[in-house]
Symmetry: C2
Subunit: 397 residues, 2 copies
Amino acid sequence: MISKKMENMVANSSAIRAMFEEGNRLAKIYGPENVFDFSLGNPNVPAPKAVKQAILDILDEEDELVLHGYTNSNAGYEDVRQAVAESLNERFGTAFAAKNITMTVGAAGGLNVILKALLNPGDEVITFAPYFGEYRSYVNNFDGVLVEISPNTVDFQPKLDEFEAKITPKTKAVIVNTPNNPTGVVYSEETIRKMAEIMEKKQNEYGTEIYLISDEPYRELAYDGVDVPYLTRYYANTIVGYSYSKSLSLPGERIGYLVIPDDVKDSETLIAAANVANRILGFVNAPTLQQKVVARCLHEKTDISYYNRNRETLYQGLIECGFECVKPQGAFYLFMKTPIKDEKTFCQEAKKYNLLLVPGSSFGCAGYVRIAYCVAYETIVNALPKFKELAKEYQLG
Amino acid sequence: MISKKMENMVANSSAIRAMFEEGNRLAKIYGPENVFDFSLGNPNVPAPKAVKQAILDILDEEDELVLHGYTNSNAGYEDVRQAVAESLNERFGTAFAAKNITMTVGAAGGLNVILKALLNPGDEVITFAPYFGEYRSYVNNFDGVLVEISPNTVDFQPKLDEFEAKITPKTKAVIVNTPNNPTGVVYSEETIRKMAEIMEKKQNEYGTEIYLISDEPYRELAYDGVDVPYLTRYYANTIVGYSYSKSLSLPGERIGYLVIPDDVKDSETLIAAANVANRILGFVNAPTLQQKVVARCLHEKTDISYYNRNRETLYQGLIECGFECVKPQGAFYLFMKTPIKDEKTFCQEAKKYNLLLVPGSSFGCAGYVRIAYCVAYETIVNALPKFKELAKEYQLG
């Protein structure tokens, strides 16, 4: 009875659900403290205290009808968008105004909005493996075609030769995600410059516009002072999708924004289209109370030192076990090479040690697993002996 | 540069924007108290006090990580869904469980979720004019075809003969909206019974399933004790889309739910599909704080007496002016026949008196205008002399 497009997706989702239920089952048998669930990207660092204070202040200070009402524009409150624009300008030397900001239902909402605005059926959207698997669904929602660039497993920077070769006259957009889910790798400034050059060249060659969509919910989660280039500064046709899910630990509240700079070709029309898409896709506007909250918390930061300690401990521990992995520079994921090619079998094996991991094929990169380390520190400490046993099984270390 | 599907929509949205800006322009010239904006369905009765108290209590009582985190299921918190189900069972004698409830980003989000779950390209969705114009876009989002049943301008109950005639093997869904936007009419129990009979008959004839989608954000806004039948009790394949936008005056917060009862054909698969659709359309889950808020405010009611006074005053006033309209039984809209066929010209004329109205053609019913009376009472009192002058222009009264 359900739509054909949904049939496969429902089957896949049953698999994810099965994994989730397996986790619950194991927790019942062994106790939750003995099950090491590294499968979810749900932050375990609470929202900064300022978030609660902001809610209390807003409830006291704002007119309820405005606070809980539809916003005049589907793009959100003018004052909130102005505040977001100014904060970006301050940090990145950009020159955005309120009109360049569309508040969205998280980054997932924002990506759907911009793809709805841009894609005709058959349009191609390029992304670089490994990538967040939901991009497949988002592009498919609008009958676009997701074109994958194969993973560069040396350092997980994008393969630029293959990128250039796969751009066609049908290429409408390129999605990048840096810091990256699932590798934690940050694309270097050199990478970004070269990507921009390639896209400029191809735009000229084909007489097309190629929009670079920067999906950056992990921007603020970067370690060791690594620089995360702000992409609108390198390439004119850049659109930024942002979420406060990780930076303020508010993933359930569904609050983020799109930036559509004036430099983008036909930016006014695209901004208008994004507003309409926000409405007709059923978002209507980003949740209003949370719009006001983030506007008051633009200078707040999550406790990144917590994630950093997890990162160091997990990375060192895994290396000592003999596993092979690239040290993540950002986000809260570690992408580990599996000692056998078939990483799904490895995940099954890991489950025997109550280690729950996600197969790399979910991210377009088999032979790897994703370990989400946005968990309690103790979970990592207690899981490492299990990883050690697992490694021994494969004669590592 | 934008997608072809969006081009017309952006053009239309410019027209709405122009109207909005015209209202602002008039307000600057004449003062906002002398501009009578009846164009928007934004409640002017504040949220019940219990909403603020619920937020404060939740902030004190709930674990922040759970409160602002992703929900375990894309359908929302289990306890919230259980509370919603129990409240419906109590009120309507139904037998829903948590699994039958999917929390959504308002009713607009819910409708998109269920249409995504159901529609293949070319599937037909029937609705009854006049209807909420956004249905066109929602159905178009999934390449469905919206089939309109022409308006019955006698009492605005649906034309059932035409309905029966227009059901085809491609009919996948029927959307009803009662209390109705824009007429305020409540479909009678007799109407609902007959509709159900017709759909049962056609399902048998074609060997298909026809899903009745009841879009009911105005359920609690019914006057004079009129009964609003709960549709799952009349027809097995009924799905309910609800929103707290009007009942708790929270339209900006984007919180509502879908009910997919066990009686619905293949309900388990459809529930699973709705959860996946919630995720991949970018909603992910309904905003978490607001989920918790509505669960604590299930017995709260908006101040319907305010809208009722507006309704009585506006209806009596317009009748006395000589205008023709069906008295609304619910919602906060009044649908008035225009003294000339071309209601767009009438709207232009009304604007000379600073009366902002929406043409009926936006709702698939020319020759009428929608007057949203969710405004301050004073606005209605002060607008009536203007309506009187407008009526005189057309030799009414």
